[in-house]
Symmetry: none
Amino acid sequence: MRYLLVEDNRELADAIVNRLALDGHAVDHAASLADAEDCLAAAQYDLILLDVMLPDGDGRDFLTRSRAHLETPVIVLTARSQVSDRVGALDQGADDYITKPFDFSELEARCRAVLRRRGGEARNEIALGNAIFDPLAGTLRHGEQTIDLRNREIRLLEVFARHRGQILSKSQLMDRLFSYDAEVTENAIEVYVGRLRRRIDGMDLRIETVRGLGYRMETGEA
Amino acid sequence: MRYLLVEDNRELADAIVNRLALDGHAVDHAASLADAEDCLAAAQYDLILLDVMLPDGDGRDFLTRSRAHLETPVIVLTARSQVSDRVGALDQGADDYITKPFDFSELEARCRAVLRRRGGEARNEIALGNAIFDPLAGTLRHGEQTIDLRNREIRLLEVFARHRGQILSKSQLMDRLFSYDAEVTENAIEVYVGRLRRRIDGMDLRIETVRGLGYRMETGEA
DNA sequence: ACAAAGCTGACACAAGCCTGACACGGCCGA
DNA sequence: TCGGCCGTGTCAGGCTTGTGTCAGCTTTGT
């Protein structure tokens, strides 16, 4: 998927770009409305993330103007204090909004939801070997039993599930699980992988250790 | 089926028209109340989708005025779940309501439900474990007893009911329960979940806490 | 065989959640 | 108009539990 992020706060923008890039999305960054126009003229986007406070104007005006000839779904990023910003965002054609500060995982979830809504219905369950993982429900079904996973386990499994067979380094996984300012040891990842392994024990699904590089999830028996 | 959509937001209107057209329905689009009057005078509709915020007046007033000589069922589209919007809409003769942003699949489902109801069939009740929830009446029946829920409880339970088994974050729930400009703490959600839990105690229906992520409603015993 | 890397049981802690009590305001009846 | 009631949202304090660290052990590669 190709995203356009319109956001003037450099730091936040970089964080979002990096984060979404981890999901395999191409994200272009525009720091102003003028930039955004250029990008829109040059490429076709699947989703636009639009800040409302921009150096050269209000994102909402932009939204109103573009809506007529723009089909791409838009998620508006607003600051919590700016109450009036949120008011009417949807009426002006936004598909959803999210208030800063937000969790990246929530942003991702909303992106997915909006894209899903646009693209018609799509169940969001992921087959993992002989088990079924439902990231929205946070559950893992295997035969009769359904296990409820916890926050970190869900997030971790989701990353693995979306990058099956791929080696993921501990630092990559940390980026997905923890916020930027969180100071966490890599050992935490080892711990969570361990916990997750115990959860998926018995399913034909395993997380292999690639010494020195990271972990890789594989489905199917050894 | 022939629908009339009264909605001034161009983008949203187009999306709805397209979507319903896929189901083989004929959908006329009116961007204002005046337009709507013209359409109603000119053709016979099976269902009306009515936005409340329109350039030339309030959809609800229109509803009140037309109800006297109009038998066609109406579904009101409200921006966010202003309680008063919902209550007012139903009192003024709406058959159902849906809050933006909504899934198209949900809109379709409600259209079907309303048409079915008009056709003399069952009410729009939702089975929840061994209880029956009527979101329009705001009641929950369980065996002999029928409990009346309060506004917030109804809305909350409705969200849960329509997303059964899915984890809903507090901010998602807030979006559903409160209007844009309401400044409400997430704690309010905790409180309402607590109150709702007490209501559904004894039915095989429970709201689980997913620490750090939100809540999830499950039916069926443990 | 040695060091580096990974695993894991136990633990302490704070984030997150729950809940009783309360204050506010709208609504209705008197 | 007044007063009481009911629904609502906040708050503070207590409690729960997921979480990340640590220490010591095991595994792996060279």
